[in-house]
Amino acid sequence: MNIVGLEYLVFGVEDLSGAHQYLLDYGLDVQDHDPANGGTYVALDGTGLIVRRSDAAGLPPLPPGAASPCLRETVYGVADAETLAAIRDRLEGEREVTVDTEGTLHCIDDGGFGIAFMVTRRRRIEARYLGFNVPGQAPGRAPNDCAANPDEAIKPRSLSHVVYFVPDVAKAEAFYARLGFVVTDRFNHLGPFMRPAGTLDHHTLFMIESQNEHMVGCNHFTFHLGSANEVLQHGWNFVKKGYRSFWGPGRHIMGSNFFWYFNSPFGAVMEIDADMDLHDDQWVARSMDPGSDNSQIFLFDAIDKWAPGE
């Protein structure tokens, strides 16, 4: 199944204006917006978030036991119409599948989460080339090209991954394995990192086994930025706008991504990340025990600016 990754995440919220401002400040572009009903907010490759009123007609149900605001649907992009047809054949034999007027398939996965599939509309990313000067390697930037720009407009490049709390992680993992997702790494007794067949990204999906019947829903979701510097600079700007850091900045071990997580009006933590590992079919999945040492190499806190003499 040539699923290339996440196309959209659909959230149901009560505070539409807060969500709108949050996503503007996060750096997504507004594709459409109606203050009374929500909008579509996209990264540079066209992937993004769809925000709706939590009581909007047609939204998939809340995952069982979850409270609004919450993720309501995960929309996957697939390579072509043939892949979409193959997924439809596979899913229609085992569950109710609806097809909307644009040809997108909608159903509920084995964890109770709304999912959908459409032919991807991802577009080529047009952004400043990011090069790095590394002794021993060819120069990453031309002479006189200065990397540091305090006013840089940093934009999320692509929707990366989503993380679920699920009641039965083995059952959920088996469902995605049948769709061609492979496990790249695993936290023991917690859950797998998975990537679909159409991308080499370390994970587009991570699942965490619920510790109780109320721990269901979205744990976090993430857009890729261009570099570690972009994670730090964009996160710093976000902090200065009054948003609340949840965790970070730091660097994960599994996936190698630099990370910074923030509380959000979507009922899930919203992460910015960069420089995730790529894996192919030669990769052998690792297993680690969960915990702080295996979750990150290092962790920092933002502090006020300072200079010698102040």
Binding site: V13, E14, A67, V163, R244, P265, G267, S292, S295
Partner: protein, 131 residues
């Protein structure tokens, strides 16, 4: 109360809203919720991951203002008693900070602050969290 400190004035908390107070580093240690002349004060420490509840300065309540919400993972709490009735820490409670409203509208809280159920994050990130 044996020892008290002035937290704020009632007028500084929007009626039907909330306000984060006692800044420590980048976070507010407590938040106050006002409903008319009623004020409740809570540690800004969600029992799930022991991190602040708000997603932006003073954003502690649900869209309709009826509940306290943790904007990390959508835990919902009753304003009356801090009981978590939905979300990953359902059945647990926010930690209430004893508070008293003076005749002039000043809001006083007991000091020292009550301990959080697990070490407050400023004392160390002992809680394991995952990517």
């Amino acid at each position: 109360m044996a020892d008290e400190q002035l937290l704020c004035h009632l007028d500084e908390i929007p009626d039907g809203g909330a306000r984060g107070l006692l800044r420590q580093g980048r976070d507010d240690r407590v938040f106050a919720v006002r409903q008319g002349a009623q004020v409740s004060v809570w540690l800004n420490d969600c029992p799930h991951n022991h991190r602040p509840l708000d997603y932006r300065q003073d954003q502690f309540l649900s869209g309709d203002g009826r509940h306290i919400v943790c904007y990390a993972h959508s835990a919902h709490f009753a304003i009356a008693d801090g009981h978590c009735f939905a979300g990953p820490c359902a059945g647990q409670y926010l930690t209430r900070v004893p508070a008293r409203l003076g005749a002039d509208g000043s809001v006083w809280i007991a000091v020292p602050l009550p301990a959080a159920p697990a070490p407050f994050r400023a004392a160390g990130r002992s809680e394991s969290r995952h990517s």
